[in-house]
């Protein structure tokens, strides 16, 4: 491509930076492929069982699957539990990680590297492996069958500490000094300077945390006994029948019921959602 000819054609025409038809086609094909399972879920949830594998366009619609799914378990309660659980875990994770990351980033003290190494260990250790030990601890603390018991092993998140430390270390010292000049204490500096600047990291981590804990299964199964504290994943397990065959109609109805709020929220707020990532103070 001849640069001069590009200039003559005018700066406004960024033709070679625009997507081609091929791009659009490929993107759409991939999207259709990607959304296929969800489409299938909707199809099967709204049609009777005979049409779970047959895609006749004139098939009758029905809400019976939803009724069966709803009756199978108290999904409203499960949904509430999961929402509370995920929010609680995230909130505590952010607070603890912010304090710890600040200490690692801005303080010097003996054993700092050792402690940070210890933190990193948790980065890779799945609490699911050490279930038996943790269950024993919960029994000793008398917390079995509470949301707190599900969340406790996760409150201290190595990933969050790691990311925030990285971010805090990258914040210019001048901002610190400016705050110091105004008479701010360490914690106030943290709150007024560091936290706002790290917002993209908070949002990114929030996404990771929420999606992990929304989908977490084994540990909540072990530590909860009743709908009182049971989250959605454990509740949905009731459809994973062993003796009877797979009943796609009911499973997809339950799925649609429990995912619909999230999907709708994402659909409505996706612009804000993505923008919140980039709304950073530094730029």
């Amino acid at each position: 491509m001849n640069p001069s000819s590009a200039t003559t054609r005018g700066v406004q025409r960024l033709a070679y930076n625009e997507p081609t038809r091929l791009d659009a086609l490929a993107a759409w094909l991939l999207a259709l492929l990607w959304i296929l399972p969800l489409v299938y879920a909707f199809w099967t949830a709204f049609h009777p069982a005979e049409y779970a594998t047959r895609f006749a366009l004139n098939a009758p619609l029905t809400l019976d699957n939803f009724r069966r799914a709803w009756e199978a378990a108290p999904f409203a309660r499960y949904f509430l539990n999961t929402t509370l659980l995920v929010a609680m875990i995230l909130a505590v994770q952010l607070v603890l990680a912010t304090l710890a990351a600040y200490a690692f980033a801005r303080y010097r003290f003996r054993g700092r590297n050792l402690l940070f190494g210890l933190v990193l260990v948790q980065l890779m250790i799945m609490p699911d492996i050490v279930v038996v030990e943790n269950y024993k601890s919960m029994v000793r603390l008398g917390l079995v069958d509470t949301l707190l018991a599900i969340g406790l092993p996760y409150f201290s998140s190595a990933l969050a500490i790691f990311l925030l430390r990285q971010t805090f270390m990258g914040i210019p010292k001048e901002l610190d000094e400016a705050a110091r000049v105004e008479g701010a204490s360490a914690l106030q500096t943290l709150w007024r300077v560091y936290v706002p600047l790290a917002r993209p990291v908070y949002t990114a981590f929030a996404l990771v945390s929420v999606s992990y804990h929304w989908n977490n299964f084994l540990w909540p199964l072990i530590v909860t006994n009743s709908p009182h504290a049971r989250p959605l994943t454990v509740g949905l397990q009731v459809f994973s029948s062993v003796d009877q065959g797979v009943d796609w109609s009911v499973i997809t109805a339950a799925t649609v019921m429990t995912s619909a709020p999230l999907l709708v929220a994402f659909l409505l707020f996706q612009r804000q959602f993505v923008q919140s990532f980039m709304r950073a103070g530094i730029k």
């Binding site: 200039t7 603890l96 402690l115 890779m124 360490a186 994943t233 797979v246 499973i251």
Partner: protein, 299 residues
């Protein structure tokens, strides 16, 4: 870092400050991660206590059994293959998706949602839906291959394709999730970068390779860390799709660990496998940590 910036008096005072800030996080880590890990390490050198018989010291016996167990090595091979496929593919797809969605393609909002939906669906539903897709005879794949005149295949029930089939599900679930991070990074780029490239007559590939890709490095590394962790953590779909079969063709390390620890109740042997898994992962974590510290530019 020359001078510590924290306010206030002596070094020891600041150190106390630091320790206080760290205390809640470290206490919880110690209680629910470090202590169980130490306990697990300890257990791996003992035999499994059963009923009345207490655990006895057996030294490296569990590790020797592990080294001689073909199922363990199958799980290791499978997991390496699985990681080797999911990490580049899910990260690569995520990047491509983000680039597409960032452009002015018609129906961007729909594309964004389509790519992101796997994250929102619970794993049990996802696994059962894919079970339908893979079902021989009337499953969705079967209907498509049938329409195209291709032969029938039992995807989940053949040792040659079971692992691949399971890998596809994992990639499908992850790519859209990673896309969000790339998308956010791309949208944070200044538009002047693109204008400058346009003026200089840079091709899209050149723009990507020399401008976007380097700027995306921090995101890429973050996403890679997550992808790596997930390659060893994602086994829930196995419970529904193949249960590690046929004949261990699709078993992964963590799944094998569950089997040994919670099915066979051979807790000591499971501890040994855990230790190996932990060591491998910690090494990689430390490597990536050092890599990140050196290569990332935030300014």
């Amino acid at each position: 870092m020359a001078t510590p910036l924290a306010p206030g008096g002596s070094v020891s005072h600041r150190a106390v400050h630091a320790w206080l800030l760290l205390l809640p996080a470290m206490v919880l880590l110690a209680a629910f991660t470090h202590w169980p890990i130490v306990s697990t390490l300890f257990d791996s050198f003992h035999s499994t206590p059963r009923g009345g018989k207490p655990a006895v010291w057996v030294g490296l016996e569990n590790y020797q059994v592990m080294a001689a167990d073909p199922v363990f090595w199958q799980a290791v091979r499978n997991n390496l293959w699985f990681a080797g496929a999911t990490i580049p593919l899910s990260v690569g797809l995520a990047l491509v998706m983000a680039l597409w969605v960032n452009e002015r393609i018609a129906g961007r909002a729909f594309l964004r949602m389509a790519y992101f939906t796997p994250t929102v669906l619970p794993m049990i539903a996802v696994a059962n839906i894919w079970l339908f897709f893979y079902t021989p005879q009337y499953g969705l794949l079967e209907q498509i291959t049938g329409a195209l005149g291709l032969p029938s295949h039992n995807w989940l029930g053949s040792p040659s394709t079971a692992l691949g089939a399971v890998t596809v599900v994992a990639i499908w679930k992850e790519a859209g999730f990673f896309m969000i991070f790339y998308l956010a990074a791309l949208q944070g780029f200044s538009p002047s970068l693109r204008e400058a490239a346009a003026i200089e007559g840079a091709s899209r590939w050149y723009f990507f390779r020399r401008v976007q890709w380097p700027l995306l490095m921090p995101t890429t590394l973050f996403v890679l860390v997550n992808a790596f962790i997930n390659a060893f953590r994602t086994v829930d779909h196995l419970f529904i799709l193949t249960r590690g079969g046929p004949n261990n063709a699709s078993t992964l390390l963590l799944y094998h660990l569950y089997e040994v620890g919670f099915s066979f109740w051979d807790t000591a042997y499971a501890s040994a496998i855990t230790v190996v898994l932990v060591v491998v992962l910690v090494c990689v974590a430390l490597t990536q940590f050092f890599l990140l510290d050196r290569r990332v530019h935030y300014k």
